[in-house]
Symmetry: C2
Subunit: 140 residues, 2 copies
DNA sequence: GATTAATAGTTCGTATACAAAGGATTATTA
DNA sequence: TAATAATCCTTTGTATACGAACTATTAATC
């Protein structure tokens, strides 16, 4: 006999997936007001940390597949959030920069992620928060 | 000044998403040998728990969007993992059943998830494992 | 210096994920 | 019972996610 409601909460793939879905779902709604997605927001934060990164570098930082990145970056160029500049020294590379539009919203956007994070974690004690983050980092 | 490598590990949406990706990525490879995806595997486990569920009931159990389920179930019918039977009492409903093909692999498939789960958690002490699962459940 | 290997990106195919709208059917209610 | 609401499911459109194959370009090696 196979159980499930008892087994499901034991399955990490399930737990992680659904916890992510829940957390992502809320943040997503907030970001929709800006016309951004979570991954697009992460790209901006990545570039604010190190303006001029290549797609490959960004992929490494954000643990993102290059094929996935290709589409995300294309949409962000189309919607005016980032700019691609070819590298004169290496024809394979395009360096990535945030746009004026993005930089004007920088403070607000960074604050949105902080708020979302607090909202997700507010049900935990500070100890639990630190512990959860440590355990998740160990999984990555 | 915006940081990122210091801030990223603080962001729950990021941590949860990447931890899920990592865990899912490994399980995915194992399941590929069977021609199944994680969600399709979950559908089978759901139906083994309660054969004859409707799509709506399954969605509730697996915390899955109905639109998402629609596609998954269609593919699983096409590949012969499940069967849809119309309900004579309610024309809106189709009851879902696992196929012979699925039931023949039942033990193996259930074992695959257990193995995957162990593999994901092996780096933690038993205490940490229980704690992590509790914290994740609280997030859902 | 020509061949081979490695790297950067793109493109394609498939599978979620989900908002929104639509069609069919059943339940409710005035 | 006719009109309305609720439910079930599908379809459409957009955004990841990622394996695999492909192009272009640079690096390595013989």
């Amino acid at each position: 006999m196979s159980k499930l409601p008892e087994d499901l909460p034991e399955c990490m793939v399930f737990l992680l997936g659904k916890a992510y879905q829940k957390a992502h779902g809320n943040f997503k709604k907030q970001l929709k007001n800006y016309g951004l997605t979570n991954m697009q927001h992460l790209v901006l934060e990545g570039l604010w940390y190190d303006e001029g990164m290549t797609a490959a570098e960004l992929c490494k930082l954000l643990i993102m597949d290059k094929a996935t990145a290709s589409g995300i970056l294309e949409r962000m160029v189309d919607t005016g959030w980032i700019i691609k500049k070819p590298d004169p020294d290496d024809g394979r590379i395009q360096k990535l920069y945030t746009s004026k539009k993005a930089n004007q919203m920088k403070e607000k956007l960074i604050d949105e992620r902080k708020k979302a994070n607090k909202h997700i974690l507010k049900k935990f004690t500070l100890e639990e928060q630190l512990l959860l983050k440590r355990l998740l980092r160990d999984l990555i």
